[in-house]
């Protein structure tokens, strides 16, 4: 199977280039295995990876034009030759490794932790099964960045639009019965940029390797806002 891989080493290359590799395909091989095989051929080739089973969210890359986690992308589902690039719109550090600081800064902006105004009880704060169900489809995010870096609105305004990942997290805390900072959270999302740059393009939904739906979460935040405003 042929691979065209994005290469860039800022210390030696004046500009990025694509390099061809050929690897022998084995049964059950994922893209991460192929990248490791490429690394055996050329050990200067750099990419992030860790758990290898779609849990840590380290090896998000752009494959044949769409963002995927390399470790859970079967080679049999990819078109030969496979074009592997770093996430679009992020500064490249080296080869497939990109700088995700802005992505984490946006996540930080939604205060991604539970906030209580009442004093904390001695025991844990209980939830009914129904209240717990509200968090399904929101808490599973592994922050791989596949969604936000696939979002055109995030490409145009990454400094002002929070992006699908951070907004999914915002929704996760708005939906949590134990959180008491809903008002403040909504206030922080006002204005034309942070939330409302989302034009329901839904690239995030297509990209999410965990099958989550940030567009739906964003719609849910808008609905809560509207309900609170009238």
């Amino acid at each position: 199977m042929k691979f065209s891989v994005y290469r860039y080493n800022p210390e030696t290359d004046s500009e990025p280039y694509m390099q061809m590799f050929e690897i022998e395909q084995r049964q059950g091989m994922m893209l991460r295995d192929a990248l490791l095989a490429i690394q055996e051929q050329d050990e200067s080739f750099t990419f992030r990876h860790s758990c290898g089973e779609g849990v840590c969210g380290s090896d998000g890359v752009n494959v044949n034009g769409s963002n995927k986690l390399a470790c859970i992308a079967p080679l049999t589902e990819l078109k030969d030759p496979v074009e592997v690039r770093p996430f679009p719109g992020r500064p490249v550090i080296r080869d497939l490794v990109v700088d995700m600081s802005q992505f984490y800064a946006q996540y930080n902006q939604v205060d991604p932790w539970l906030q209580r105004k009442e004093p904390l009880p001695e025991q844990e704060i209980l939830q009914t099964p129904e209240e717990r169900d509200q968090l399904d489809g929101l808490y599973e995010c592994i922050m791989c960045g596949c969604c936000s870096t696939a979002c055109p609105s995030f490409w145009w305004n990454p400094d002002k639009f929070l992006g699908p990942q951070a907004l999914l997290s915002a929704c996760r805390f708005l939906a949590d019965s134990r959180d008491q900072a809903g008002e403040e959270r909504l206030d922080k999302l006002e204005g034309p940029y942070k939330l409302f740059r989302c034009h329901t393009i839904m690239s995030c939904v297509e990209a999410c390797p965990k099958g989550l739906n940030p567009t739906k979460a964003i719609g849910h935040i808008k609905a809560i806002m509207l309900k609170e405003a009238i």
């Binding site: 609105s153 145009w156 305004n157 008002e183 909504l186 206030d187 999302l189 006002e190 204005g191 034309p192 940029y193 942070k194 939330l195 409302f196 740059r197 034009h199 808008k222 806002m225 509207l226 609170e228 405003a229």
Partner: protein, 113 residues
């Protein structure tokens, strides 16, 4: 606690006007299919009906508001230098006001004729 600022309000306006536009355009379409006006006088008579005139005015008001929000969205996305964005937005705003006055004049003339 102000949630009425540019984000939510613009978004709501865009949704609300879209719903009115689709409903009115459906009415318009069925009218043009089943009772197509065959003369200028028939057109004028149709527009002169108070409900139709009001519906048309609301339709154009919705269309212009919808266009304003949409165009502003496009500019916020793609045109980043403030001076250029403000200039284009101002020009577009004047053009929309011009369109609005023209529509009002047309419907008014049809009503008094």
């Amino acid at each position: 606690m102000s949630r009425r600022a540019s984000g939510l309000r613009a978004w709501f306006l865009q949704r609300a006007t879209a719903i009115y536009l689709i409903l009115f355009l459906l009415y318009l379409l069925q009218h043009l299919i089943f009772n197509p006006p065959d003369s200028f006088a028939a057109w004028q008579g149709w527009v002169a009906q108070p409900l139709v005139g009001l519906g048309l005015l609301l339709c154009f008001a919705s269309l212009l508001l919808h266009a304003w929000v949409g165009f502003r969205d496009v500019l916020i996305d793609y045109v980043h230098p403030t001076a250029i964005r403000v200039s284009i937005l101002t020009l577009f705003g004047f053009a929309l006001i011009g369109c609005a006055l023209w529509v009002m004049q047309t419907i008014f003339l049809a009503t008094v004729a």
